[in-house]
């Protein structure tokens, strides 16, 4: 507990020094929406991203935040992100609705967190798609491109949610029908036709020799006098179950949901 308090104070100090404070109508946040403590962006890039994030947050009444830090100080990315979000009262409205992307440069960890109303627009499935799109840029150390992609995609996600069609499993507007999909579809569809024709062809050949004489077994003609079932061995195979989500958002006790990993 003591360690956690010290950690939060440290975070507060760093962010106050580097991030500054911004207050917007409907939001009581105590830091900028784009807080680059890891120094990944130029001033002009950060200023443009801040402006863009502000505009989207106001438009959809949902804070869209970016936080970069040099290190997680031994904490999990999800815990760190949660602490920042709570400590600096990020979020819009009474539910503190928002989404926050945290990058830690030490071990290239990331956490994407949604809170309050943000959980509606950023489902578990949606967060995986969003992080996947951004990671393509981060993997090439294109931080500005990645953050731009993040903001644009957040805007799209919020628009889909506003239209009543949040991005989720079974409702993924980014899942385009590709050439590979067409090839797979055509290949798979060939199989039922082939099986049907083979069955039809088999029905044309009826002159087949008999291999058994079951019809001629005498009444009570089967007498089994020896019967043994001998146990030989047992083998066990253990397979870790793949996480299957039926869609929606799984929020923790604090009302937040996370998507974490490496970039």
């Amino acid at each position: 507990m003591k360690r956690r308090t010290i950690f939060l104070c440290a975070v507060l100090l760093v962010l106050l020094l580097l991030g500054g404070t911004a207050l917007a109508a409907g939001s009581s946040r105590q830091i900028d929406l784009v807080t680059d403590t890891a120094g990944l962006l130029t001033n002009s890039q950060r200023a443009y991203l801040e402006e863009r994030a502000e505009a989207l947050s106001e438009q959809y009444e949902c804070d869209i935040a970016i936080v970069t830090v040099p290190s997680l100080d031994g904490y999990e990315a999800a815990d760190y992100n949660e602490a920042v979000y709570q400590q600096y009262t990020l979020g819009w409205g009474p539910e503190n609705s928002g989404v926050c992307l945290l990058l830690s440069m030490e071990n290239r960890d990331y956490d994407l967190m949604a809170h309050g109303g943000g959980n509606t627009a950023f489902t578990d499935y949606g967060k995986r798609i969003l992080s996947g799109k951004c990671r393509e840029y981060f993997h090439d150390d294109d931080w500005y491109g990645g953050f731009l992609c993040y903001l644009d995609t957040c805007g799209e996600f919020l628009q889909y949610a506003a239209d009543g069609r949040p991005v989720d499993k079974g409702a993924n507007p980014y899942d385009k029908f590709t050439f590979l999909d067409a090839v797979i579809t055509l290949s798979v569809c060939f199989l039922p036709g082939l099986v049907t024709v083979l069955i039809m062809k088999r029905r044309m050949k009826t002159a087949v020799p008999q291999t058994q004489a079951n019809a001629y077994v005498a009444e009570d003609g089967v007498q089994i006098t020896e019967s043994s079932d001998l146990f030989l061995n047992t083998t066990q195979n253990r397979v870790r179950r793949a996480r299957e989500s039926s869609g929606g958002t799984t929020a923790d006790s604090s009302g937040s949901s996370h998507e974490s990993g490496k970039f």
């Binding site: 055509l186 002159a207 019809a215 077994v217 089967v222 146990f231 030989l232 061995n233 083998t235 397979v239």
Partner: protein, 367 residues
């Protein structure tokens, strides 16, 4: 050996008699009389006996029938090798091979029975008389062609029946027993979940079953002229229709004597019996998810073998220069035979199904 063929003549008008599968009687096509086969057999037996006693009397009085010396010119082996007979109706020569037992004169169509083929030790024990006529066979072939999407459309209209004949096919009916043991590899599969893990447990067993299985009257065709796959495929026959053999059932149909002996035919019966024994033992293995035969050690004992003539309608059709043979069980009406497959229709169905399914699948994915 006699070289004179026999045909049953109508006691009323002396016209040729033929067996009717509909009435089960010998009928005269000229005066319309019908006779029970047993009655005709009795009449002919009496006639033969009186002829034999008359010949004996003539021999005792020193007289010789005209032509007797001509008959003595041919030895038994020579007569058998010639395979030439005189039609008792028109006098024409009938040529047939040494397994033909009943045939029809190619000149006058008179149904005749070749003597010696089904007599003595070669006499069949049983016969199943024809129950279905040639119209039923033609109808069955038409029905057989229905509901076959790959059958060339032209085959239905352009094929013509080259030959349609009712044949009594020689069969061996084996009573036998197999005994021994069969080993199976069996296993059970149990799956359950523990936390984030799916666990599959496979338990293997060696299962052994031993005992005996008795079989009654496994049929094996004893004619090399008949394709085995066709004769197997028209099984089973209803053995309640088996009657003691009588020549009187033959007129009007072809009949062959066997040319595959009992010993050689028994090998096919043995293979079938052993396979059925393994299946019967396997049926007693329960409680496993998979059972695969590993090894078998079975012995075959033949108890009895009967020689029977079973009714088969053979239909030959010709289409595109190729012969197609169909066989119909003359008792149950089961018809089999391989049909031609149209390459065009095969491709049309294959690509048609492919196109429809692909279009639907792509539509669902795009929308």
């Amino acid at each position: 050996m006699a070289t004179q063929v026999t045909n049953y003549q109508c006691p009323s008008c002396t016209g040729p008699l033929h067996f009717s599968s509909e009435t089960g009687k010998l009928e005269c096509a000229y005066c319309g009389s019908s006779f029970d086969p047993a009655e005709i057999e009795r009449l002919y037996r009496e006639k033969a006996e009186s002829a034999a006693s008359a010949a004996q009397q003539e021999e005792q009085t020193g007289g010789a029938a005209p032509g007797a010396s001509a008959g003595s010119e041919w030895g038994e082996s020579e007569a058998a090798s010639l395979r030439v007979y005189n039609c008792p109706s028109c006098g024409a020569e009938i040529l047939c091979d040494d397994t033909t037992a009943a045939t029809r004169c190619v000149y006058c169509g008179n149904p005749s029975i070749v003597p010696g083929r089904l007599g003595g030790s070669l006499k069949p024990d049983y016969i199943i008389p024809f129950r279905l006529d040639r119209e039923a066979a033609v109808d069955a072939l038409k029905k057989h062609c229905k509901g076959k999407p790959l059958l060339p459309r032209a085959f239905r209209s352009q094929n013509h029946l080259e030959k349609l004949q009712g044949v009594y096919v020689p069969f061996w009916l084996f009573d036998c027993e197999t005994s021994g043991r069969v080993e199976y590899d069996a296993n059970t599969v149990r799956t359950w979940a523990e936390g984030d893990w799916d666990i599959t447990e496979l338990t293997n067993y060696l299962v052994t079953r031993g005992g005996t299985v008795r079989f009654e009257q496994i049929p094996v065709d004893g004619s090399t002229k008949m394709p085995d796959d066709h004769m197997d495929a028209i099984e089973p026959y209803d053995y309640s229709g088996l009657v003691p053999f009588s020549m009187a059932y033959l007129p009007g149909f072809l009949a062959d004597k066997y040319d595959v002996d009992e010993k050689r035919s028994a090998e096919r019966a043995q293979k079938r019996a052993e396979q059925s024994t393994s299946e019967a033992f396997c049926a007693s293995v329960s409680g496993y998810d998979s059972v695969v035969e590993k090894d078998r050690a079975l012995s075959f004992t033949q108890k009895d073998a009967k020689y029977a003539l079973l009714p088969v309608w053979l239909l030959n059709t010709k289409w595109n220069g190729k012969d197609y043979l169909f066989a119909m069980n003359g008792q149950t009406g089961k018809l089999i035979g391989d049909l031609p497959v149209s390459k065009g229709l095969t491709c049309a169905w294959l690509f048609g199904i492919w196109a429809v399914l692909s279009a639907l699948a792509i539509l669902i994915q795009v929308l």
